[in-house]
Subunit: 204 residues, 2 copies
DNA sequence: GCCGATTTGGCAGTGACTGCCACTATGCTG
DNA sequence: CAGCATAGTGGCAGTCACTGCCAAATCGGC
């Protein structure tokens, strides 16, 4: 996504270039000293723009690095909209991403690794996940028809747990040198959930 | 929890009274105009203290109303520490609370209803839930022994989903006049999860 | 009634973010 | 190619959350 070239409009190109520059600067600074010890002024200066301009591109400093996160959510939501099986939608997106040219997955890896070690960033990412769940919830209730809103919510948030945990685990393992597969880790996380409910069936 | 009397120390009593006053003021103001449209100055003035003093009692304005939330988490964590079955721990806490004198559950009801309608508050509460999950995760790995940290995380976060959804659903229903039972709603939420994984077993 | 510890308020400062205004650059039009 | 509407940028002032610091008041024990 977000290809800097591929557009004839100079203004548009410039805009995308600036955006990319800010994102890169934020990524570097966050990795270096953490998001809390980095000010918007720092990021803006590193990207060669004013603070005011920074806020025209991103609403918060955390948002500057969470772009892939957002597009990742969008990709999953698109799948959910067509086939309303949340597990399949996530697994499919993960597989498609792993099979792709590698750029998005590398961005995701870097950001997820950052998130895993940065409390502030993790909080913000968690809120984004919650937003994503609300969207997905609406898609599911729209597709499967109304009735219990609670069911759709629980479904979305439950896969979201497995997905989030898998992303963190994957990022940590990859950073440690292992060549972990995202889809595999996700399925492992789902496996733990399944196991929980296998035991639970005793109660209910 | 937080009994205003029951202490001989006058200072301590005063402190608790001030704390309770601030909490009540925040609760009222948040209910009236939402947490974002309420400033710390507003809360402090309503509670009859300075802004500086407010921040000696609570680190953020959102924290002023999330006290029960915290003690609720503590109660669950205590149970997990003794018996490391997360479902049982949550269900047990819920049952004990419902059976109690009613004060904590009414506070919880009010706050949860607030949270369900206030985006900002919901975000903060979600972050508290995440913190709670991290604690619980540590307790589980400590009790059940190490190995996969991922499993403990997934377990905690998965029950947390059911719990959070149940709390919201319960608060909404109760506010609508129905006399919904928290434990029952929680079990319903868990039931939806179980159902998900019953279908999932086809894939795996 | 005095002393040490606690609590409080005020004030200045930082950092996130917004609204406003003037300035510049772009790209379209005659 | 000059001229103009529009988009993009920077600066500035302002609000709000939150912190550190210092002085005044209060409390509890002697």
């Amino acid at each position: 996504m977000v290809r800097v070239t591929d557009t004839t409009d100079l203004r548009e190109r410039r805009r995308l270039a600036t955006r990319a520059e800010i994102e890169a600067a934020a990524l570097d600074l966050f990795a270096e000293r953490g998001s809390e010890r980095t000010t918007v002024e720092d990021i803006a200066a590193a990207a060669g723009v004013s603070q005011r301009t920074f806020f025209r591109y991103f609403p918060t400093k955390e948002d500057a690095v969470l772009g892939i996160h957002r597009s990742f959510h969008r990709a999953i939501a698109d799948r959910i909209a067509t086939l309303p099986d949340v597990f399949a939608a996530v697994a499919g997106t993960l597989a498609a991403m792993s099979a792709g040219d590698g750029a998005p997955i590398h961005r995701l890896l870097r950001v997820r690794y950052l998130i895993a070690r940065d409390d502030n960033l993790r909080r913000v990412a968690l809120c984004l996940d919650a937003e994503f769940c609300r969207n997905g919830q609406d898609l599911i209730t729209a597709a499967l028809g109304g009735g219990t809103d609670l069911r759709a919510r629980v479904m979305m948030e439950t896969v979201s747990v497995a997905l989030r945990a898998a992303l963190d685990e994957w990022a940590m393992r990859r950073h440690a040198g292992e060549d972990a597969d995202l889809t595999a880790v996700f399925q492992q996380a789902c496996g733990f959930q399944l196991e929980m409910f296998e035991k639970l069936r005793g109660y209910a």
